[in-house]
C-alpha cells in the first residue's frame, strides 16, 4: 500500500525502530528562542553534555523583545535577564544566534523559512507549538517541550510514537477577499480545537495548491489550534520557486538532487489516511472568532451564537463563559462589535504578503478615531522589505504604528499588550483569555479583515469599505 506524505518523511528519519519502543527520529533542524530553552541548557550543563549538532541548530530572540526603542536597554528586568540567558547559553555552547538588532532577527517561524533552512522532507522542531508553520514546505515540523529541547540538543533525535494521519481536502477556489486565515479558522471551527488531536494533518486539494507559500504557512501555523501537532502541504513548484536562491537553499548539484527528492514527497494515490475532512472553498467567506478558543468562530456575516443552541453540555458551558469574558451578547451581529486595537503581525500573519494586503486596503484611508493599530513585521528582513516597498509610509499615513520585528501583541510577554477590557482584532493565532494581556479580549481575523476593521472601527471585511479613498499625495 502507498504511503502518505507524513509517513514518507517520518520513515526517512527513523534512526532506530524496535518492538515496544517509540521510533527514534532524527531531527534536521532545531530552532531555539529565549523562552523554552534556558532550563534545557541548564540540563546539559548539569550532565556535562555538549550540543551534538551545532550545524543543525539556530537561535533567535522574539517573545520578549520590545518593538520600540530596540537600541535601548530592555526596560523589563525579567525579560532582559531571559534574553541575556539565551545570549550566554549560545555563547557558551557555540549556538548561532540572531539577537535583537540583528538583520536576521525575528519570530523564529518567520526566520527559518526566509533563510531557506526550512526545506521539504526535513524534520523541524522548536520549543514552540507554532512550529507547525514549517509544514507548509512539506517538512514534518512540530512544537516540543523543554525536556525535548534538551533531548534534541544532546542527541539530535527524539523518541516519538507515530501519529495518525488526517487529510484536510479543500476543493474549489477561495472567493475574492477570502484568505488562508479565513480558511484555517473555518477548518478549526469545523473540526474543533481537539479534532486534530493525535493526527498529522495534510492540507491538500485544488484550493491549497493555488496558495502562495505565505498563505500555506498561515494555514499550517494554526494546525496546533485544531489540536494537531503538525500540518503539512506537499511541496511543488511554488515551494521550489520560494526556496531557490535563499541563503541556505542547496546550490548546483545539491539543488538538483534536492528537487529530485522533494518531488517524491507526495501522498501516493493508493495511500490511506486515518481520517478525512472535505471543505468546499467556494462556500467560504471572511471568518472571525467570537469566543476564547480558536474553534469558537463564525462567518463575519453571522451573529454571536446563543449558548443554549449547543447540545453538548461542556460546549454550552464553554460558550457561556466565553461570552461572559468577551462581554458579548447572544444574537449580536459580529459586524456590530467595536474594537480598540488592531494588531497585524505574528508567526501566523507577519510575512510580507500579509503586510502588503493590509497596506493595500489602508492606502488613502485612515484608521478610525479611537482605534490603535499596530503593524509588526514578523522579522527584521520582512520589515526591510516592507520599507523598500513604501508600506511603512502607507501604514504611518493611515495613522497606524509601524514597529520593529517580534512576537509583539500575539502574547503578553513584551510591552505590547491589551489593557483589561480592551478588545482587539488580531491577525495572531490565539484568542485565549488574557493571551494579549490580562483581561484583554481578542478576535482572530485575517490581515484584510484587520485593515477594514481598523478603518471602520468595528469588525468588517474589505467589501464593507465602500468609501472613496483620498488620492495619494492629497
Amino acid at each position: 500500500m502507498g504511503r502518505t506524505l507524513a509517513e514518507k518523511v517520518w520513515d526517512d528519519h527513523v534512526v532506530r525502530r524496535a518492538e515496544g519502543e517509540p521510533d527514534l527520529l532524527f531531527i534536521d533542524l532545531h530552532l531555539l528562542h529565549e523562552v523554552t530553552s534556558p532550563q534545557a541548557f541548564d540540563g546539559l550543563r548539569q550532565n556535562g553534555r555538549p550540543v551534538r549538532r551545532l550545524d543543525l541548530t539556530i537561535a533567535t530572540e522574539d517573545h520578549n523583545t520590545p518593538t520600540l526603542d530596540i537600541d535601548k536597554p530592555i526596560a523589563d528586568p525579567v525579560s532582559r535577564a531571559q534574553l541575556e540567558t539565551l545570549r550566554k547559553n549560545c555563547a557558551e555552547f557555540g549556538v548561532r544566534l540572531h539577537p535583537l538588532g540583528d538583520v536576521e532577527q525575528g519570530v523564529v517561524h518567520v526566520v527559518g523559512p526566509q533563510l531557506g533552512l526550512t526545506q521539504p522532507g526535513t524534520t523541524v522542531v522548536c520549543g514552540d507549538s507554532h512550529t507547525s508553520t514549517h509544514g507548509a514546505f512539506g517538512a514534518l515540523a512540530f512544537g516540543i517541550g523543554t525536556s525535548q529541547v534538551e533531548h534534541v540538543l544532546a542527541t539530535q533525535t527524539l523518541p516519538l510514537a507515530r501519529p495518525k494521519t488526517m487529510a484536510i481536502t479543500v476543493e474549489g477556489e477561495l472567493p475574492e477577499g477570502v484568505t488562508a486565515k479565513d480558511l484555517i479558522l473555518a477548518i478549526i471551527a469545523k473540526i474543533g480545537t481537539g479534532g486534530g488531536q493525535g493526527y498529522i494533518l495534510e492540507y491538500r486539494g485544488s484550493a491549497i495548491e493555488k496558495l502562495s507559500m505565505e498563505a500555506r504557512m498561515t494555514i499550517c501555523n494554526m494546525s496546533i489550534e485544531a489540536g494537531a501537532r503538525a500540518g503539512m502541504i506537499a511541496p511543488d513548484e511554488t515551494t521550489f520557486d520560494y526556496l531557490k536562491g535563499r541563503p541556505h537553499a542547496p546550490e548546483g548539484e545539491d539543488w538538483d538532487a534536492a528537487v529530485a527528492y522533494w518531488r517524491t514527497l507526495r501522498t501516493d494515490a493508493d495511500a490511506e489516511f486515518d481520517a478525512e475532512v472535505v471543505i468546499k472553498a467556494d462556500e467560504l467567506s471572511p471568518f472571525v472568532t467570537w469566543g476564547t478558543n480558536p474553534g469558537q468562530g463564525a462567518p463575519l456575516s453571522a451573529s454571536v451564537p446563543d449558548p443554549a443552541s449547543y447540545e453538548d453540555a461542556s460546549e454550552r458551558l464553554a460558550a457561556e463563559k466565553a461570552l461572559e469574558y468577551m462581554g458579548l451578547a447572544a444574537g449580536q451581529p459580529l459586524r456590530s462589535i467595536n474594537v480598540d486595537t488592531v494588531f497585524v503581525g505574528s508567526c501566523t500573519n507577519g510575512r510580507i504578503e500579509d503586510l502588503r494586503a493590509a497596506a493595500e486596503l489602508l492606502k488613502g484611508r485612515k484608521v478610525a478615531d479611537g482605534v490603535r493599530m499596530l503593524v509588526v513585521p514578523g522579522s527584521a528582513r520582512v520589515g526591510l522589505q516592507a520599507v523598500s516597498e513604501g508600506l511603512d509610509v502607507v501604514f504611518k499615513e493611515a495613522g497606524a504604528e509601524w514597529r520593529h520585528a517580534g512576537c509583539s501583541m500575539c502574547l503578553g510577554m513584551n510591552p505590547d499588550q491589551l489593557a483589561p477590557g480592551e478588545r482587539s482584532a488580531s491577525t495572531s493565532n490565539r484568542n485565549f483569555e488574557g493571551r494579549q494581556g490580562k483581561g484583554g479580549r481578542t478576535h482572530l481575523v485575517s490581515p484584510q479583515v484587520a485593515a477594514a476593521t481598523a478603518v471602520l472601527g468595528h469588525l468588517a471585511s474589505p467589501a464593507d469599505l465602500t468609501d472613496v479613498r483620498t488620492p495619494a499625495g492629497v
Partner: protein, 197 residues
C-alpha cells in the same frame, strides 16, 4: 525524573473544558529561567476570584486534578506542567489532553490519566459532594479507584516503564549512540545546515 507508581490524594474537580496553557500559566510567568517557583502562577487569573475551586479551604492540599476535556491545549510551554507540580498536583485526570501537554507531563513524572467522560463525571460528583473523598491512581495496575468507582486506563508500555522507574530519556537514547552516528553518516549532502562546514 521522579518515579510514579501509585498515588492517593484528595481532588480538585475542575468543571471546565479547553483549559488552555495560557490559563494554566500565563505568559508573563514564562520569563523565569528555572523549573521551580511557578506555583503562584497556576491558574493565576481564575484564582483572583475567591470562589474559584482552588481557593476553597477544603481543597487545600489536594493532589489530584480532575479536569474537563481538551486539557492543556495551546502552547508547548512545559512551564504548565511545572506549575501544576510546583503547586502540589501529582496527577491530572481528563477525557482528553492536548498532545504536547501530555508529552511534557509524562516526561516530568506528572501522570496524565485519560478516562471516559462518564467516569470523569462520576469523579466530579463524588468529590464535589465530599471534598475529603480520595482518589487513587495506580500506575502498576493502570487503574483509578475511588469510592464506588473503579476504572482502568491505558498508557503505552514504554511510557509506563519509564514513569515507574523514573528514567531519563536522554540517557536511554544515548545508549543508541551508534545508531545515531550511522544515520548521520548517510544523510544526503543537500540537507540544510545552519553553519558552514
Amino acid at each position: 525524573m521522579e518515579a510514579f507508581t501509585t498515588h492517593t490524594g484528595r481532588a480538585v474537580p475542575l468543571r471546565r473544558s479547553n483549559v488552555d496553557t495560557d490559563q494554566i500559566i500565563p505568559a508573563h510567568w514564562l520569563k523565569k529561567v528555572t523549573r521551580d517557583g511557578f506555583e503562584d502562577g497556576l491558574f493565576e487569573a481564575w484564582r483572583k476570584d475567591e470562589t474559584f475551586i482552588l481557593n476553597r479551604p477544603e481543597r487545600h492540599g489536594a493532589t489530584v486534578l480532575v479536569a474537563g476535556p481538551d486539557f492543556g491545549t495551546g502552547s508547548s510551554r512545559e512551564h504548565a506542567v511545572w506549575a501544576l507540580q510546583n503547586y502540589g498536583f501529582k496527577t491530572v485526570i481528563s477525557s482528553r489532553f492536548a498532545d504536547i501537554f501530555r508529552g511534557n507531563s509524562l516526561k516530568n513524572g506528572l501522570l496524565t490519566v485519560v478516562l471516559d467522560q462518564k467516569v470523569v463525571d462520576a469523579l466530579w460528583e463524588l468529590t464535589e459532594a465530599d471534598p475529603t473523598a480520595e482518589i487513587t491512581v495506580d500506575l502498576q495496575a493502570r487503574e483509578v479507584r475511588a469510592e464506588g468507582i473503579t476504572a482502568s486506563f491505558e498508557l503505552d508500555e514504554n511510557s509506563r516503564w519509564r514513569l515507574l522507574n523514573g528514567l531519563d530519556d536522554i540517557s536511554i537514547t544515548l545508549q543508541n549512540e551508534a545508531d545515531i552516528a550511522a544515520y548521520e553518516a548517510k544523510r544526503p549532502a543537500h540537507k540544510p545546515r545552519t553553519l558552514q562546514a
